[in-house]
Amino acid sequence: MLIVGEMKLSDIIHHDYTLVPVINRFDIQLGFGDNIIEEICKTKNINLGFFLTILNTFHDSQYFPKEYLKSFPATVLIRYLRKAHISYVDEKIPEIKGMILRLRKLSSGNKKTLDLISDFFEGYSSEFGTHIEREEKIVYPYVLKLENSLSNPGIDKPMLEEMEKYSISNYEQDHEDIEEKLFDLKNLLIKYLHAETDESRLFEEASYLLLRELFVLEKELREHSRIEDLILVPKVEEMEKLIKARS
């Protein structure tokens, strides 16, 4: 489905409910009645082109965001990415930590194993934090500086010098190890968790909830990095080109 401004947001959520956390990041909560996207964006003061780009990229892994790329400023994008980070760090990760602890509590014969899994996830979450911090402290400020520089006419010498030292092409995507850890965690649960011990029905249920949450997180992060690769990087490359062209 290609999401466009004349569609009702309610229809879209019926079609793909995993978009709910995404619209939440735009301060849209459930209960939006029959309003179409255009109207909602207008009342909430949301950049329509940007909203559609994010929804489509998230919804359809084949979607290639091109048409609206120029229609919104980088500030808007960075604001979105930061909100997403907050929701991972403050909500998703603690939720999963809690689920592992609950599983440990319910377990009769796997407490030691779950301690190991809990430590493993701690390692994952601190690595994840470091990754996010680098984006927030290095990449995003750089992007905002570029945009600021573009809004003023003339040649920006200091900016050009900074671009000599750093450019968005240095922005290595080191999501890999983080993705692999999440994959490993899923496999530890699926293949090896309680191979030889009896556990209660509640334990089974809690394992399923944990596993489901890991799949959800995995999907979220995959779409998040697609947004960075397909929207942030090209957008910044374009800005770098414009600044260089002035000199």
């Binding site: 084949q62 899994i117 493993f120 390692g123 850890k181 490993d184 496999n187 530890l188 293949k191």
Partner: protein, 198 residues
């Protein structure tokens, strides 16, 4: 599911791409990790970096020289190649592929050929069946203690190349990629003791 067969698809037509994707989804253990439309710059390098087990390629999608590209791919011993071909594909092109999928075939024929190429006795799954061997366990023990490949090689009097092969097979068999994941596995299965860990 033992190891996962990672696939890269090179196909410019959206309809064919979606078709192949839905086909692959029906085979557990096969995963499309990336899709290219054939017009990308440095396509070979991009593919190599992703370390796929299998590349499915439609020669019609390639913008650059087909022969050069295919021979480079064929020089990679870890990668199997499948040609996605039309029934009337000229002999000089189709003969370049050991494995073929003919686009006009019906679903079950296609599924069958894919399974034969990548199934349990196909070339893609040479080393990832069964439990890990005694030798692999010895290597695993050292790896989870935090030793580098070189250190493991020196300690066990084997070449670094052998260590890397063992590691690759361990990861494929267990489905665990990171050292810290392997550590959890080893502790869970009493392969190492917590006291042995640094």
């Amino acid at each position: 599911m033992a190891g996962v067969t990672n696939i890269i698809l090179i196909e410019s037509s959206f309809l064919l791409r979606s078709g192949i994707e839905s086909l692959v989804q029906e085979i557990p253990g096969m995963l499309i990790i990336d899709v290219f439309d054939g017009s990308e710059k440095n396509l070979f390098e991009k593919i190599k970096k992703k370390k796929p087990d299998l590349v499915i390629i439609n020669p019609d999608s390639l913008v650059s020289s087909f022969i050069g590209f295919i021979s480079k791919l064929q020089d990679e011993p870890e990668i199997e190649i499948i040609g996605l071909l039309k029934i009337d594909c000229p002999e000089n092109i189709s003969s370049r592929f050991k494995h073929k999928l003919i686009v006009s075939e019906n679903k079950h024929v296609l599924l069958d050929s894919l399974r034969k190429i990548c199934g349990s006795d196909g070339p893609c799954k040479k080393n990832d069946q069964g439990p890990i061997s005694k030798r692999e366990i010895i290597v695993l023990k050292e790896v989870v203690k935090g030793l580098t490949n070189q250190e493991v090689a020196d300690k066990l009097f084997i070449s670094i190349h052998t260590v890397m092969t063992h590691r690759k097979n361990i990861t494929k068999k267990l489905g665990i990629k990171t050292v810290s994941g392997l550590m959890v596995y080893s502790l869970m299965n009493n392969i190492v003791d917590i006291k042995e860990m640094g």
